[in-house]
Amino acid sequence: MEIALAFLVGLFFAVAIYLLLSRSLIRMLLGIAIIGNGVNLLIFTVGRLTREVPPIVPDGEYAPLEQIANPLPQALILTAIVIGFSLFAFLLVLTYRAYQELDADNTDTMRVAEPEDSPRPPLSY
């Protein structure tokens, strides 16, 4: 199963990178969302997979009775999902505002910070 997921993770990254390389802001946003899922799946896969047994200790016991799923990657991913969502929401609003202010969703036309005809540095002291 890990091997199949490894290829799926590769597909996640390939699609995300392809989207990030487009100059359209909204596609880059999709890429961000997908790359976040790709990273989560990667961590999940590296922690090895166990079918259908959540890391929960049954009532009355001090330790789980059978082989359970690795809890550590799950804890890391839980944090990552939330942070990834915050980032996504922030970027979404940033894109929206950039579109409103600059009337552009293409990074080629968003050159306020780095104008194309920025002046040459003065040759003096």
């Binding site: 199949a4 390939a14 390389l21 899922n37 999940f44 922690g47 330790a63």
Partner: protein, 805 residues
């Protein structure tokens, strides 16, 4: 030297000027007008403390102070804050503090009422402290730190009139040249440590042949000379020195007499015992020194600006000193030291005289001032006293310096004979300049000057007069002065005991050479006008020099920086990202290939049907995001891959993740759908086919990179010790049955706190983004200034035609 008592006074001497520098602006504010006199008490006190060492050092002793500065057990380089005083340091330190006293009072008068007088006094005192630390330093790192401090503080002083471009240029030039030399020196000093194992100059001096006999000797010598020649303005690094005349006159008087430019000479003298008297030393130094001497002396005659004339004679004098030290002979060293002190006295005095003339008459052009004798009597006396020593008339200190130089003249040694002739010509020409400055402005008919001239205040003429008197008095008592000051100093440089027997010689050859010097000088003075016009004609033809080269160099640097910036920082986001992902691919594959760890293609996995289906659904969702023709399809596809991930979490024992992922994906899709409907975006991918292929290739390579790394990782055993610990202790010590939750809120509680902070910050940022409207805030920080005239205030952010805000 650790057995000697620590003289904390030395530490205080090096630090006191810096402490005073901090107070100087306040002193100046509350004691405006007399602040120079008040602050001058500090260098005067330093002078007096140093004067108490004269006796012990004349008897052959040294004074030292050591304090550990940086200690490290990993790094066997003893960095100490250590100082020591021997004959050489003492002469320099006395000159620095003594002339410094006059300079501080002089600055008080010269810049009286200037807006930034306090700042100026502060800079001067910092510079003084740097110089004192430099000449007293024992540890080579201490030496280097103070060496660099002199570069930095002189930068501040030269660029004091920072609203003038010429000043800024001169300051940057001095900093680049002397700072560049400082780097060479640092390298040289570290080489000295590596070769000799000595970090203290005082112990290095005991081990005299350790450097000379080492194969790296030439490298060490060149590096040290690189530092010294840039600091002491030897040709071809001389150009910064005349330009530094942009500084206010007290700075020139100080930098050019006793300090800055003498630092290089000090370094050469200090290193003489361990570096001198080799074929390289005895060739390089006299040649560079001789060229500098002639260049300086001849260029001085070309100028009419008296400050510039003095600046070029300073060059000449530095050349003379380097040349003399380069002979590695006892007489030459003694001559160099005599000349050094004589020069410090008369050059300091003459600069202050020129500054007084400039200050009181409004011009310092030699051809524009005349007949000021009656108006500035005290300044005139100072000028004459200094000029006597500069011209080397009998019984002045300058005379004895010259006499010692001419003692080197002997028919048996052609090399030193040639150098004495060079010295003779240089002396003669510099004498002409001295005479010109002492005579031309004061005699003759009064000329109309920009200001009506009157005598300068006491603070501005007492210094030059005392220096002038000292120049004569030292010559009068030359035998005693020689024993007390010059013998210990020469001993330190020559590294063998030197006895001085300075007195008036009545040797026919010496008298002949002296007379020859005066004849050269007198002729040059008499023919000054025609020499000057001749040199000016030459200058119109021969334009190129290192000064222009410096501009080319600096502008070239700026252009190069501009080009590199434009190359790397071109402003096209997708190219930045391509660079990032290409590097990512490299980072993924390189270690695998280097360690030959590329995984083999695994066997086809044997999965349940539902597992295959969910993987397939995720893949379809991903492909559909890319292939989607409309926004809505893309959003729905995004949802598909997100929900697939949630299902994968559910299937493999992670229900918490599954639920969280479901909620987050639902929210994402809803918000995205809401926002997208309000935007009128281009539906198609803007990429042309070539770009799509390029990006696709990068994406696929990166994708396979992740697969390969992941397979490589999966092929090794997982270290589950941390997970096992959590599983085993979850119930017993954290009292929680859901192990994932226990990890989040117990074991990684701080991480979770950080996570909450991130979410909150993102929320605030989103609120702020929505709240900000074009034109910035109406009030408070960033609010537009009130419109100067009627009409709407200009917007600073470009607002394009289609904004629907």
């Amino acid at each position: 030297m650790s057995d000697l008592p620590n003289h904390y006074a030395l530490l205080l001497i090096a630090l006191a000027p810096f402490i005073t520098a901090l107070l100087a602006p306040w002193v100046n504010r509350f004691a405006n007008g007399v602040s120079g006199w008040i602050l001058a008490t500090v260098p005067a006190a330093i002078f007096l403390v140093l004067a108490t060492y004269i006796g012990p050092i004349a008897d052959g002793g040294t004074v030292s102070f050591t304090m550990s500065w940086v200690e490290s057990q990993y790094f066997h380089f003893p960095i100490n804050l250590s100082f020591f005083v021997d004959g050489l340091s003492l002469i320099f330190a006395l000159l620095i503090s003594g002339i410094g006293t006059f300079i501080v009072t002089y600055s008080g008068g010269y810049l009286n009422g200037h807006r930034h007088q306090g700042r100026f006094l502060s800079f001067i005192l910092m510079f003084m402290g740097s110089m004192l630390g430099l000449v007293l330093a024992d540890n080579i790192i201490t030496l280097f730190v103070f060496w660099e401090l002199t570069s930095i503080t002189s930068f501040l002083l030269i660029g004091f009139n920072h609203n003038k471009e010429a000043s800024r240029r001169a300051a940057i030039q001095a900093l680049v040249v002397t700072g560049g030399g400082g780097l060479l020196l640092l390298f040289g000093l570290l080489m000295i440590f590596a070769v000799s194992g000595h970090s203290e100059l005082s112990t290095l001096m005991m081990d005299q042949n350790v450097l000379r006999d080492h194969p790296a000797y030439l490298l060490v010598l060149l590096l040290v000379l690189g530092g010294a020649f840039t600091k002491s303005a030897q040709v071809p690094f001389h150009f910064w020195l005349p330009n530094a005349m942009e500084a206010p006159t007290p700075v020139s008087a100080y930098l050019h007499s006793a300090t800055m430019v003498k630092a290089g000479v000090y370094l050469i003298a200090r290193m003489s015992p361990v570096l001198n008297d080799t074929i390289y030393w005895n060739t390089i130094l006299p040649i560079f020194g001789g060229i500098t001497l002639l260049t300086g002396a001849i260029m001085a005659l070309r100028q009419t600006d008296m400050k510039q004339m003095l600046a070029y004679t300073t060059l000449g004098s530095l050349g003379m000193l380097v040349m003399l030290l380069g002979l590695s002979e006892k007489v030459a060293i003694l001559a160099a030291l005599l000349f050094l002190v004589a020069h410090a006295f008369y050059k300091g005095a003459l600069f202050m005289v020129v500054g007084a003339i400039d200050h009181e008459s409004g011009t310092r052009d030699l051809t524009e001032v005349s007949g000021l004798r009656a108006k500035l009597p005290f300044t005139f006396i100072a000028a004459v006293l200094a000029a006597i020593s500069m011209a080397g008339f009998p019984i002045s200190l300058g005379y004895f310096a010259k006499e010692e130089i001419y003692l080197l003249f002997g028919p048996e040694n052609v090399w030193s004979m040639a150098l004495v002739l060079v010295a003779l010509i240089g002396n003669g020409l510099m004498m002409a300049v001295g005479l010109a400055i002492a005579i031309k402005p004061f005699f003759g008919k009064m000329l109309e000057t920009p200001k009506s001239p009157h005598e300068a205040p006491l603070s501005m003429y007492w210094g030059p007069i005392i220096l002038g008197v000292l120049g004569l008095a030292a010559g009068f008592y030359i035998t005693d002065v020689g024993q007390i000051f010059f013998a210990p100093a020469a001993t330190a440089v020559y590294a063998k005991l030197v006895e001085t027997h300075l007195k008036l010689h009545f040797d026919a050859l010496l008298i002949a050479l002296s007379v020859a010097t005066w004849v050269v000088g007198g002729l040059a003075f008499y023919k000054l006008e025609s020499i000057r016009s001749f040199l000016r004609r030459v200058a119109t033809v021969w334009r190129w020099g290192p000064d222009q080269g410096f501009d080319q160099f600096m502008f070239g640097l700026i252009r190069l920086a501009d080009r590199v910036t434009r190359l790397l920082h071109h402003g096209r986001l997708e190219l930045y990202l391509i660079l990032v992902f290409v590097c990512l691919a490299g980072a993924l594959f390189t270690p695998l290939i280097m360690q030959d760890a590329l995984p083999k293609l695994p066997a086809f996995p044997n999965l349940h049907f539902y597992e295959w289906s969910i993987i397939a659904i995720a893949a379809i969702g991903l492909i559909a995001v890319i292939a989607a023709k409309t926004r809505l399809v893309a959003i729905v596809s995004l949802g598909i891959q997100g929900f697939s991930v949630a299902v994968i979490f559910l299937l493999f024992g992670a229900p918490d993740l599954g639920f969280t992922q479901l909620m987050v994906e639902t929210l994402s899709v809803v918000i995205l759908a809401l926002v997208m409907t309000r935007l009128h975006l281009d539906q198609r991918d803007a990429r042309v086919l070539e770009e799509a292929v390029r990006d696709g290739a990068i994406a696929i390579v990166c994708g396979f990179g992740f697969v390969a790394v992941l397979l490589a990782v999966l092929s090794v055993e997982l270290d589950t010790s941390l997970s096992d610990l959590f599983v085993a202790t979850s119930v017993p010590i954290a009292h929680g049955r859901n192990i994932v939750n226990v990890i989040l809120v117990d074991y990684r509680a701080l991480d979770t706190l950080g996570e909450i902070t991130v979410v909150m910050t993102a929320g605030i940022a989103i609120l702020a983004l929505i709240g900000i409207r074009l034109g910035g805030p109406k009030r408070g920080i960033g609010a537009p200034k009130k419109a100067p005239k009627s009409g709407a205030p200009k917007r600073t952010t470009p607002r394009s035609k289609g904004a629907r805000a």
